[in-house]
């Protein structure tokens, strides 16, 4: 039965009251993202009454100690500030449950606690399990949930699981994890979170493409020369991140999930509707159509990996990748990767997608740029300077979210001289109010049973299939493509520039 008061009140699916159980509750993700997101939802009145939060972790803590630790961080990071009165009510929803991840008894006690909460709340038993623990515990948590019977629910209720990235480290591990997840929860109740999809600009890609009649007719190989997707970071391995990163690398850490998700949103066909499967069916078709770079030679031709060497970023001196804390000095893990991706569909035949991601680049920015073909130069090619480049549509994901379009214009004057000009839309200029955090939207969606912005099993596996060929060429072939280098604070290695040089293309200067 729907809540009649929700009708037309806010234009989104209705979140339902539930108990959110967070595994890995003493970690950074819980403190810095999940709890502030839930708090801000409460602050805005968007969190259904009766939501309870149970933190599950190994350390000994009381409810009060857990709450006060969360409060301390929330004061610092909450996007809407911290209100003591609201927090006092919110904190009463939070409980702590101490247990090892493998301890069957701990899950039994959890089931009893959840039962008590349900009783107190009037018998409804919706449960949302958020696995924010280290990936090595995913199996344990999922299997223990099943053994404790927490994966099932009463009639009319639901039991869902949110799984944080990394979703596997390769195709076999992802398939294994998917099997474990799907033995425990049905696919419809599985929410693989990719916080990039919760970002306002990522959501706007579909609106831009399908709500504006001027773009879609041009969105194909007749008019588009190539597309670039860039994720630049101006940080290295600070905060002990080197240990994780050196095992993962840029390709697994960012490209397999975030950047291929963005690529599929840019390249997909219009979905038949906006249901979760309507959208995800189209996205997975893109991933299935990726041309596989399945030999070391093809990988060498189409993918560049690199590490940064000592240099300066933002005026600060920084060490090379292999000198970073917790990084193997002999490491061949890539801190930078650039790929040429071809999508073998009618729409994208012959249009390369260039994707790059790197650490210790000059600035932090994520964007998609659509480079249109140049017009016939028959009219203006005789002019000194010629025609200054084609049209470029840029979708900025972060920071400074917005959209810009580069066009060519005549410089005022008696002579006919052409220069590029930019039409620029900034979210921050046009909309003074800040966007909600991606996790707020995604948590509400999972409470409402809307999986549109979450990755489906086949999407994840198709993405790994593509990535695994490259990883295999790098780490398992007898003749692996080399690891290039670039000075920290520059825009990546020369080899990445060469990837585009054919056809006179260049990476967009951010």
């Amino acid at each position: 039965m729907n809540n009649p008061f929700r009708k037309d009140l806010v234009s989104r699916s209705q979140p339902e009251a539930c108990t959110v159980v967070i595994f890995g509750a003493t970690g950074d993700l819980t403190h810095r993202k999940l709890i502030p997101a839930l708090y801000n939802l409460q602050l805005e009145g968007a969190l259904p009454a009766g939501v309870k939060i149970v933190g599950f972790a190994r350390r000994e803590k009381t409810d009060e100690q857990f709450r006060s630790g969360l409060e301390e961080i929330n004061r610092k990071v909450s996007r809407s500030g911290h209100d003591d009165e609201v927090w006092a009510d919110f904190a009463q929803k939070i409980h702590y449950h101490q247990s090892e991840f493998q301890d069957a008894d701990g899950y039994k006690r959890l089931a009893e606690s959840l039962e008590e909460i349900d009783q107190e709340r009037g018998g409804k038993g919706n449960r949302l399990f958020y696995i924010a623990s280290a990936p090595s515990f995913f199996d344990d948590v999922l299997e223990s949930l099943k053994d404790a019977g927490l994966n099932s629910c009463r009639a009319g209720c639901w039991s869902r699981v949110i799984v944080e990235k990394p979703f596997g480290i390769d195709l076999p591990s992802a398939q294994h994890l998917n099997e474990v997840v799907n033995k425990t929860f049905q696919e419809k109740d599985t929410y693989r979170i990719d916080h990039y999809l919760g970002k306002e600009t990522a959501q706007n890609i579909m609106v831009l493409r399908f709500a504006n009649a001027i773009f879609e007719p041009l969105w194909n190989n007749n008019y588009i020369d190539h597309i670039q997707i860039t994720c630049a970071e101006n940080l290295g391995m600070e905060g002990g991140r080197g240990g994780y990163y050196d095992k993962a690398g840029a390709l697994r850490d960012m490209v397999q999930n975030h950047l291929l998700q963005l690529l599929s949103l840019v390249a997909m066909e219009p979905p038949t509707d906006l249901t979760a499967d309507g959208v995800r069916d189209e996205k997975v078709k893109v991933l299935r159509s990726l041309r596989q770079w399945d030999t070391p030679e093809l990988v060498a031709e189409n993918v560049v990996r690199a590490q940064y060497t000592e240099g300066h970023v933002d005026g600060e001196k920084c060490v090379g990748y292999c000198q970073e804390d917790r990084v193997d000095p002999e490491s061949t893990t890539e801190a930078y990767v650039a790929l040429r991706i071809m999508i073998d569909t009618w729409r994208w035949s012959g249009v390369p997608f260039f994707v790059r991601m790197g650490k210790q680049l000059p600035k932090k920015a994520t964007e998609i740029s659509v480079h249109f073909k140049e017009p016939p130069t028959v009219l203006f090619n005789a002019l000194s300077g010629g025609v200054p480049g084609g049209n470029v549509l840029v979708i900025r994901i972060q920071p400074d979210e917005g959209i810009s379009l580069r066009m060519v214009s005549k410089i005022p004057g008696a002579r006919l001289r052409l220069e590029p000009v930019k039409m620029d839309f900034h979210y921050s200029t046009s909309f003074g109010k800040g966007s909600p955090e991606a996790y707020e939207r995604l948590l509400l969606d999972s409470m409402a049973g809307d999986a549109t912005l979450f990755a489906r099993r086949d999407e994840v596996e198709e993405a790994w299939k593509f990535i695994d060929h490259i990883e295999s060429a790098w780490h398992e072939s007898s003749n692996p493509p080399p690891v290039a280098d670039y000075v920290a604070g520059t825009w990546g290695p020369k080899e990445a520039d060469d990837l585009l040089a054919e056809g006179g293309r260049k990476w967009r200067r951010l």
Partner: protein, 361 residues
């Protein structure tokens, strides 16, 4: 009048605006809509310039302030231009231009031509009408408006004014009315919806037998709209013959889909917050949303069986700029408000036949 900026000749408003921007190359001119703020009250144009300064922090627009003085014997039109600038996210100075027009005497008849010659093309027109509706609110005006914002708490005869709004709705395709009284009740509606997300509360809804709404005497429209929303959302039937009105309360009766008779009372108290309390009760469940007169929190209580939820959420005050911004932020066609209008009008004793036979002078 200094606050309104530079006084310019009516014929050179556009040229002067261009010069204004040329002087300051560091700023970005942003606009997502035309915002006209109209008032017939003395001195309102100056206060409205302050309101626009606030509004442009979040909503980039071209603002057009309109001050009308019909009683002035002299017919005149004066214009001023200025820009409201804000630093966005500590970085960029974003500015919105403002044109103020003061029309007096017989020149007020030239409102439409004068003002609407200065709209930003292609952008929607949001028209904020302050105070009582007057004869200037005619089809010639409202046919140009996308969103019409008004505050029915300022109306001396709401029934008559709402008839005009309803007529505009029927006559103009894109006209979307937005009542600040409805905006005032948003936080209460959101809280009620949140409390009824609780499954037990939801189950008890059809067994509701009492609704009590307490409002400040100036905000009775908000109370009646809130009641209309409850009734309309649930599809309950009015039992009109059981209605009783007194000076301090209006009593209505309804029947739920389960055949339970609901007594609803909208009462006023001069010491209360604009919307002080809403309580929906059934034998097993009480949902109460309340706010103290000076409190900035909305207290929410759900009592169902042995289960009790209590929480507070911060709410904005009764400041017109805040209310206006809240209304703009939600965007859309305000379909929910349109849906409750017929029920709400029936509470005011207005029926559909009356609407087309009334004119305001």
């Amino acid at each position: 009048m200094q606050i309104l900026g530079k006084e310019v000749a009516i014929g050179s408003v556009d040229r002067e605006l261009r010069l204004l921007w040329e002087q300051d190359k560091a700023s970005t001119n942003a606009s997502l809509m035309n915002l006209a703020v109209y008032s017939e009250n003395d001195g309102a144009i100056l206060r409205n310039s302050d309101l626009v300064q606030e509004i442009t922090r979040e909503h980039a627009c071209r603002a057009i302030l309109i001050g009308i003085d019909r009683d002035d014997p002299k017919a005149s039109i004066r214009a001023w231009i200025t820009a409201h600038c804000h630093l966005r996210h500590g970085r960029k100075s974003v500015c919105c231009e403002q044109i103020a027009f003061q029309l007096t005497g017989r020149a007020t008849g030239r409102l439409r031509n004068t003002v609407f010659a200065h709209l930003n093309s292609d952008l929607p027109l949001v028209f904020w009408w302050q105070g009582e509706l007057s004869s200037i609110f005619s089809e010639r005006l409202y046919s140009l408006i996308e969103r019409f914002v008004f505050d029915s708490s300022q109306w001396s005869d709401p029934a008559e004014s709402f008839k005009c709004i309803e007529r505009a709705l029927k006559n103009a395709n894109n006209f979307s009315p937005m009542d600040m009284e409805w905006t005032r009740s948003y936080a209460v509606r959101l809280a009620v919806a949140g409390l009824y997300d609780d499954p037990l509360a939801k189950q008890s809804l059809e067994y509701t037998n009492s609704i009590r709404i307490k409002v400040h005497p100036n905000h009775k429209m908000a109370g009646l709209q809130l009641l209309a929303w409850i009734i309309q959302s649930n599809g309950w039937k009015p039992l009109m013959d059981k209605r009783q009105d007194t000076e301090i309360s209006d009593r209505f009766c309804f029947e739920t889909n389960e055949g339970v008779e609901v007594t609803a009372v909208v009462e006023t108290a001069s010491s209360a917050a604009p919307i002080a309390e809403l309580e929906i009760s059934s034998p097993d469940c009480t949902v109460r949303v309340s706010r103290g007169a000076d409190s900035r929190y909305l207290h929410q209580l759900l009592n169902v069986g042995s289960h009790r939820v209590e929480q507070s959420t911060p709410v904005s005050g009764n400041d017109p700029a805040e209310l206006f911004m809240a209304q703009l932020s939600r965007g859309g066609k305000n379909s929910l408000f349109r849906m409750i209008i017929p029920t709400f009008l029936s509470f005011l004793g207005v029926n559909e036949e009356e609407i087309y036979g009334t004119n305001i002078e």
